[in-house]
Symmetry: C2
Amino acid sequence: MSTYLGVDIGGTNVCYGISNADGEILYENSFKTDSFKTADELVSKIHSDLKRKQPLAGIGIGAPSVNERTQCIEFAPNLNWGDIVPIQKIFQEKFDIETVAVNDANAAAIGEKTYGDAPEMKNFGVITLGTGIGLGLYINNEVVIGANGLAGELGHSIIRPDGRECKCGNLGCLETYIAKEGIVRTAKEKLEFSSGGSLLNNISPSELSPTEIFKAARKEDPVALEVVDLVTKDLAFAISNLVNILDLECVFLTGGIAKNGNLLKRKTEKHLKTLILPNLRDKSFIKISSINDKNSGVLGAIASIHSKVGILLS
Amino acid sequence: MSTYLGVDIGGTNVCYGISNADGEILYENSFKTDSFKTADELVSKIHSDLKRKQPLAGIGIGAPSVNERTQCIEFAPNLNWGDIVPIQKIFQEKFDIETVAVNDANAAAIGEKTYGDAPEMKNFGVITLGTGIGLGLYINNEVVIGANGLAGELGHSIIRPDGRECKCGNLGCLETYIAKEGIVRTAKEKLEFSSGGSLLNNISPSELSPTEIFKAARKEDPVALEVVDLVTKDLAFAISNLVNILDLECVFLTGGIAKNGNLLKRKTEKHLKTLILPNLRDKSFIKISSINDKNSGVLGAIASIHSKVGILLS
């Protein structure tokens, strides 16, 4: 039986799994990303963990800022492994099998198309909400790679010129407001100016996370509700521009922050109503990815290598 | 010899021309759009003008808000011919020949690909700057139509939530700032608060136009320069988000306002420097369409019908 390795490299965690040709996960594991000083260290660790699980038929890697034309991670603001990391080459040399690297958000879109709710859709997007903000797009039934292999940098689309400083060097990127650190920063700013009494005051600042903030919002905490309102307004703003420009059938939300399911979806939909062009308003919708709990990143990476080595799934 | 009719319907003018299979314009004419109360009146007028120039091999129509799936103009905020105008059907029945309707900005993109500077490009955009703001996109070497045939509404992407009221019903659309009326409105607002002495004060308010404003800016008029700076900043903002998300090789500018060539390009490029993601900054560029003077709208409409009836241009 042929088995495949899918690796999902995120700013916080590296998750990986082995599946059969049907996409059924047979083994999975994960590490903290910052426990590795270099990509070589990470690959050696995974290789030794999987020593008894080989031979594999191929490896798919999903990572932020992957240039799909060069197969390198290039200037990833949320990873500290150097400016240019030849991630595909490092894996391929260590394991000595066919390997493909794709942008993590493109991997999520390929996963949604293969295992999720988009098999029939020709024009859709998947937004990854986590340490960073990514976008995988299918247009005319094809993944969008871009002229230089760098498409999908939704997190670095600017929503407030002269806004918050971003790791990429620009000011006001979407990511600085609605990715993990940005949400926490907004909450801290709001707490400073609140009169106290917020549930969030009971959490030590270093423990404050989007999960805790959404949890407090569900309990009607006014500061948390205000933060969720601001975050979903910015997210709706980004989604509306995608839909107005690309006329997408659906935008899926995935990643850690999307696990705040219904509240995130409901508030974002409320804001979308005044932002999407009237004649598209009833035609396009958002959806929390149904494969999010099953680690869409790993599944997407596996779907990517499957499609590369020509194995038909389904 | 087969000849084709291209019709470019804009918010201000309707231009049309007949070409041979090489795209060489043999006859052209234009009318003011608001001199027709209905699309039927327009089509009758063009039909009688071309009575001696038939038979034609096909008709291509470029118009704003065309839904390419239904072949109707739908809820065009800058036309007053009703909510749903079956423009392709009206032309086809009157002339009794093969007819295709495309979004005006898509027509411009097909024109750029066929007769302009984009024949080798697989990922590029064409922004039409006039009474409205449109966008035609090629991604993976195909025109982007969208899930409902409504892609390209860049003019209705929102740049300032709660900003200026737009004809589409939303607030803060790009179009309300950088299309013709928006630019004039900004100039009037700035003149109100200026201490006088602007060259623009010599122009009667009803005559004020983007052309006059750019002309005054070239003479270093401070109010005009401020307006041009604001307009190009908003335009750069829209372009940067397209490039950051779609990794386009080039964005072409066309339409009436793009005739302010060098000044528009230079100022927009200045703003783009701080808005495009650093690793895309040197890989993508903007260009004033070189076919803009030759009426890219008519050429685009002709290229669209050519491609429909399967005549290969080269």
